[in-house]
Symmetry: C2
Subunit: 221 residues, 2 copies
């Protein structure tokens, strides 16, 4: 599967690009400049040489040509990035992973974006895209480190069943991750905000903790 990352040169973008390439995806690292995307792709390929990652660079517009697109810009760039690519995202599954967080003292606090959540902002900016939210609670450093095995449930929300399904399938391919249908985009505000709590705990305990749901009844039961 082809994956395009918008804003793939930042910490979140590099982390998700490396992780998805490590499970055999062909990943385009998008950036405002294709050159920066290429540079980041080359760096990651070199860093994880033994993984033989299928990574290349692109501008954000070209990254939209992939089967599935991940928006990984810093949160305050999410809306404007997507709004500039509306036509290119029509009919695509677009995963929003950003969290609106603000540093207050040594702690992180969640702020409420104008449209309630960044997932909803992405869906509004690209109304014909099939937007889902995912990957919010995975610490970027753990995600980026391919020697680090993940142990996390990934909450997936969307207003489109096909996007929920495609996103959960992608998540389930990542060793140590389980995708969980967390409902509609109305849940994104709470999912995004909760990241502040996790980051705070991680700062205080110097951990890279994620969450798992315990006691979840699965389909096979």
């Amino acid at each position: 599967m082809d994956i395009g990352i918008l804003g793939g040169t930042g910490p979140a973008g590099k982390a998700v690009a490396a992780r998805l390439a490590s499970i055999g995806m062909s990943v385009a690292i998008g950036s405002r400049s294709a050159e920066r995307g290429e540079q980041t792709a080359a760096e990651l390929c070199e860093k994880w040489a033994s993984h033989k990652l299928d990574l290349h660079g692109a501008d954000n517009e070209a990254a939209c040509a992939a089967d599935l697109v991940v928006v990984a810009t810093p949160w305050d760039g999410v809306f404007s990035t997507v709004a500039g690519l509306t036509d290119h995202l029509e009919g695509k599954v677009v995963i929003s992973m950003a969290n609106a967080l603000f540093k207050v003292g040594s702690d992180m606090e969640a702020v409420v974006p104008a449209r309630g959540s960044l997932c909803v902002a992405v869906q509004n900016a690209a109304p014909k895209a099939l937007v889902s939210g995912a990957f919010h609670h995975l610490p970027a450093r753990g995600l980026a480190n391919l020697e680090h095995s993940l142990d996390a449930d990934v909450l997936v929300c969307s207003d489109h069943q096909s996007a929920t399904k495609a996103t959960i399938e992608l998540v389930d391919r990542i060793p140590g991750c389980r995708g969980i249908d967390a409902g509609s985009l109305s849940q994104a505000a709470a999912i995004e905000a909760f990241t502040a709590v996790l980051i705070g705990v991680n700062i205080r305990t110097r951990s890279h903790a994620s969450i798992r749901l315990t006691g979840l009844r699965t389909e096979t039961e």
Copy 2:
């Protein structure tokens, strides 16, 4: 330790009362009417006769005489209940466990209370109390069923270190639960809202799932 539950006759109150009594606490089930509190206490003692629960009824004011107070009213009654008891809560550790949730179709959505979170509303209503937030993510039914063993991390937030400490100590006494310092009351909004996501997942999967943090570095490491 003596524990007083404000609004102890509702589902959340009964659940937390039974669970805390099951670990040897002496629990006063507070209600607007002491008689209803007594009735609920008697019902719970009979239901869990083999556990020999130390439960009794009280009006909410008398329940405030306990060492530690839990606010367990429905969320839209939290502020007015606490505001009527301000003087009685001075210097006490007061645990807020309610979540501002609204049913939309078959799903639960988090709404933002006027003061950002119910924990902050409680702290504002009782400024000299040592308010903490806890127990938000435990499904009431699992908490209430003493035959059901819990498997959950309980996120604790407070602006008072002594309240965080006392609340975590209480949580840690409950088999299957681990208290985690989740920071200041600024985190309560996100913790409370996230309950909507968990309840939604539980509705869809007919589960009573809670959360655990994985990869958390503990003090002994």
